[in-house]
Symmetry: C2
Subunit: 160 residues, 2 copies
């Protein structure tokens, strides 16, 4: 399986939570409580998402994080790129200039590039809003249902 990193999975859950209350700042501990993702991990996420321009931060007391844009203006591709790096199946295609010293062995770049752009396109067309669905979770304190699964909530694993 070609895996999507767990961090990315968490990011979508956390950002969905932020999207449900626009115009409010969310502290790390709040987000951790509401999503079930451990707070140090939420903090780490935000420290990646903010420089990437997906979220904005306010420091000091009464500070916190907020989405920098509306949920329907944030694509899944952006989130993945921020956390997992450029969207490409093969590293040797990334830069454009081939650091690949074994070009003789790599006449397949054209094929990969075709695949890569198709995947990129697919991910760019899905927005955070598309992933949210109806607001159906995190209403009130965690209920018993929340402990049935593996834990927090994001999809357990990932593969392309």
């Amino acid at each position: 399986m070609i895996r999507l990193s767990k961090l990315t999975d968490y990011a979508i859950v956390v950002m969905s939570e932020m999207a449900r209350h626009v115009g409010t700042v969310h502290t790390v501990s709040h987000l951790a409580e509401r999503t079930g993702v451990p707070s140090p991990t939420v903090a780490k996420l935000m420290k990646t998402l903010t420089p990437a321009g997906l979220t904005t931060s306010h420091r000091g007391a009464a500070g916190g994080y907020a989405l920098s844009r509306a949920a329907d203006a944030i694509s899944i591709a952006e989130i993945i790129t921020a956390l997992d790096g450029p969207i490409a199946l093969t590293a040797c295609v990334e830069g454009g200039d081939s650091q690949c010293g074994v070009q003789r062995l790599c006449p397949m770049r054209g094929g990969w590039e075709k695949v890569n752009s198709a995947i990129r396109g697919a991910l760019e067309q899905v927005t955070l809003a598309d992933m949210m669905g109806p607001p159906a979770w995190a209403e009130g304190p965690p209920g018993p249902l929340d402990s049935i699964g593996a834990g927090p909530g994001p999809a357990r694993r990932a593969a392309v």
Copy 2:
């Protein structure tokens, strides 16, 4: 980066080599020599690809492996599926029946399913023949060029 496993990368290189000499059986050691992939690893690859129906094996002396079909009838999607499992970004979508106990937290399945099928489609449209390009490598013993890169030859890493 959403990574493609290195094994899959190797598989494409090794299968390309087999495709260049159809109608011949290739022993593990031959394939290892020609591609630069260590032979135990080639052996492991074949032991996965053969049950998956992508290659056929002939035991005994003068035995070896061969592609079960022409290169243009083998899609990249099949190779990935054989080695890395089903092509899907999220595990909770795989089965169809949701073992995902946290459905309240997972209203985003629809979105992922859309992404998954787009990616699957992209990978199914590229065949092994597309990846091969002109036969330009593994002519004669490894030249100096081969040692410039990281090693054997397949693209170094992978991400979606």
